[in-house]
């Protein structure tokens, strides 16, 4: 039977709705329901489950489902789904280069700071308008102190003729390798070009090229390679695994690697997505990632045990001069840098 809605009843209903709506405004929206987190798998996903989901989100009634893939696949999915009214991910984990690219393409929401109260603890250097930083580390020099007896202080030490044949670079790290060379050859984070000639000098000296980080680890373990450029967190992991290496900080400055989390514009459950971002910035999960993976917390209230802080965090004097990659430059130049690396440097 159709319901007759007369004018008085309609006005009463509208008034009631407006009052109810106004009462709800200004109150934090409770997160619940299903939230899909697009993330890397392995330990990264396992730690999120144990330290973010189980203790902080499940009790709130948020059901977290992981969409596991690597960064490239996630970016392709986000770009393809832009026109969908409801996307497949509520939270997207990406490298800071990836999240910059997605934000430039209009994929992400501006982060609503009122819904992520823990953002006020995030280190200012790591903040962006479109992402919340999850973990970070800095680029350093790893060396074998039995072979490289004098601790390196600069990327220029890789070019020391004394160590010719004992220095290695990693194929998949072409971008950061050219960048490091540029930093000692008159270039900058916005101009990698001078790094190319500098790297050709290293090639003349017999630099070893390893395909992956894992191959580099094997070479460091066997002593075939004694010095390389690497992320500090990876160095921490390798030291824990028993590799004979030490970490040296280049005087040119420490360039950061940041892993971000963002909320796509077409996320289905934004309340739960923001609750997820807030939970991952809690001191508990931040400490857990530092302990398990050797990355530094992105917040100022993680309160790490002194030994762990010494291992994962960079010295305070370095923190003031942290360098952040010029994502706009990389977005424009990455293809030609890779092309040069493959056709000229590796030829």
């Amino acid at each position: 039977m159709p319901i007759e809605l007369d004018r008085r009843l309609f006005t009463l209903g509208l008034g009631t709705s407006l009052v109810a709506g106004a009462a709800g405004m200004g109150r934090a929206r409770a997160a619940s329901g299903r939230v899909v987190v697009g993330t890397w798998g392995g330990d990264y996903q396992g730690l999120q489950q144990r330290h973010i989901v189980d203790p902080l989100l499940t009790p709130q009634g948020v059901d977290v489902v992981f969409d596991t893939a690597n960064d490239t696949v996630r970016r392709t999915k986000l770009m393809s789904e832009r026109r969908l009214p409801r996307g497949s991910m509520d939270v997207a984990c990406l490298t800071n280069a990836g999240s910059y690219q997605m934000a430039a393409n209009g994929v992400f929401d501006e982060i609503d700071e009122d819904r992520v109260p823990n953002l006020k603890h995030v280190l200012p250097k790591l903040r962006t308008s479109y992402s919340a930083p999850h973990i970070y580390t800095g680029r350093v020099i790893l060396y074998n102190p039995e072979i490289i007896t004098k601790a390196p202080t600069s990327y220029a030490d890789l070019w020391n003729p004394e160590y010719a044949g004992k220095v290695g670079v990693i194929d998949i790290q072409y971008q950061t390798t050219i960048e490091s060379a540029a930093m000692i050859a008159g270039g900058s984070l916005s101009d990698y070009e001078p790094g190319k000639d500098k790297l050709l000098e290293l090639k003349e000296m017999g630099v070893r090229i390893y395909p992956t980080n894992e191959a580099m680890a094997q070479a460091l373990a066997s002593g075939e390679c004694a010095m390389c450029i690497m992320w500090q967190a990876r160095g921490n992991m390798w030291k824990r695994a028993g590799l004979p290496i030490e970490i040296a900080i280049p005087e040119e400055g420490v360039v950061l690697y940041v892993s971000d989390m963002s909320v796509p514009k077409n996320a289905r459950n934004k309340d739960a997505a923001y609750a997820y971002l807030n939970a991952m910035l809690d001191p508990g999960p931040q400490r857990a990632f530092a302990e398990a993976m050797g990355y530094a917390p992105t917040i100022d209230n993680a309160d790490l045990p002194p030994e762990l802080a010494k291992e994962v965090a960079l010295p305070p004097e370095v923190q003031d001069s942290f360098l952040v990659q010029d994502q706009e430059y990389l977005l424009e130049n990455d293809a030609q840098l890779q092309d040069w690396w493959n056709r000229v440097f590796k030829a």
Partner: protein, 274 residues
């Protein structure tokens, strides 16, 4: 081969055996190395290793993503194999038995998943699913059906080739005899032709299963949230950790595929079929 005793025949025989042994070594060596690595106790391999243990097998069973991935890969591979055969057996009958305009074009089209890189197939399928969802509102992106459909595509070239190659070898007079004795074309296909080409069908099923079970690139795009396949779980594990756990997982995969091969060879002589 008749054995001769002249020096040139002797040299030829030694060279032949050396080639055979060398060929087998190239094929078997990676498998042997993977099995060996899975028992090495060091996290990062050093030669000679410090010792041997089962710790990486224990680690494998502690990681839920490997077990979940194994189950998903198994189910998807079985579904893709069966669906692939349901499509390709009738298609092979048509392609092998009938002459019509465009026959070669269709055959090449069915072989195209072998030519196009799998990562391109995966991303293209994903984009197509998104477009279909935009136009129809059907939630097919990230559904288990999308993943199974992608894997069916991968199995088609293998099944088509193996089944139609066996069909070509069937003597048409046997089928004609059945038809002339009153059997319907369907009964002839099911009761006469299919039993003759059965080894080809089994081989097609085996190849389809192996191709689907080990596929990474297509699954990366099509797997739904909360699901993972074994190859994805291995890749993702390696992203953050290096230790021989993935070698232990690979041994599990070798055992599954190897068991499938051994069981199949009890019923069908694969060496004569493939």
């Amino acid at each position: 081969m008749v054995k001769g005793n002249s020096p040139s025949e002797l040299v030829g025989r030694i060279a032949f055996h050396a080639l055979v042994i060398g060929g087998f070594a190239v094929i078997v060596l990676p498998l042997v190395l993977v099995v060996w690595l899975s028992f090495v106790s060091d996290a990062i391999l050093t030669v000679p290793p410090d010792g041997y243990s089962f710790r990486w097998y224990a680690e494998m069973f502690r990681q839920p993503q490997f077990m979940d991935g194994f189950a998903t890969s198994l189910i998807v591979a079985l579904v893709a194999t069966l669906a692939g055969l349901a499509l390709t057996i009738p298609a092979s009958f048509v392609l092998a038995r009938m002459a019509f305009r465009g026959r070669d074009a269709i055959l090449h089209l069915l072989m195209s998943p072998l030519i196009v890189p799998a990562i391109v197939i995966g991303s293209a399928l994903y984009m197509m699913f998104v477009e279909v969802e935009i136009r129809t509102g059907l939630p097919i992106t990230g559904s288990v059906w999308g993943l199974a459909a992608g894997h069916v595509l991968l199995t088609i070239p293998w099944s088509i080739r193996l089944v139609s190659a066996n069909l070509v070898g069937v003597n048409p007079s046997v089928e004609e005899a059945a038809l002339s004795l009153g059997a319907t074309p369907l009964a002839t296909a099911l009761r006469i032709t299919l039993p003759i080409v059965w080894p080809g069908v089994v081989a097609a099923a085996l190849f389809s299963f192996v191709v689907s079970f080990g596929n990474l690139e297509v699954s990366l795009f099509l797997v739904s949230a909360g699901e993972t396949t074994l190859p994805i779980a291995v890749l993702q594990y390696l992203q953050w950790k290096i230790n021989p756990t993935v070698a232990a997982v690979s041994v599990l995969q070798i055992v599954v595929v190897g068991t499938g091969l051994l069981l199949t060879s009890r019923f069908v002589n694969l060496a004569r079929t493939v």
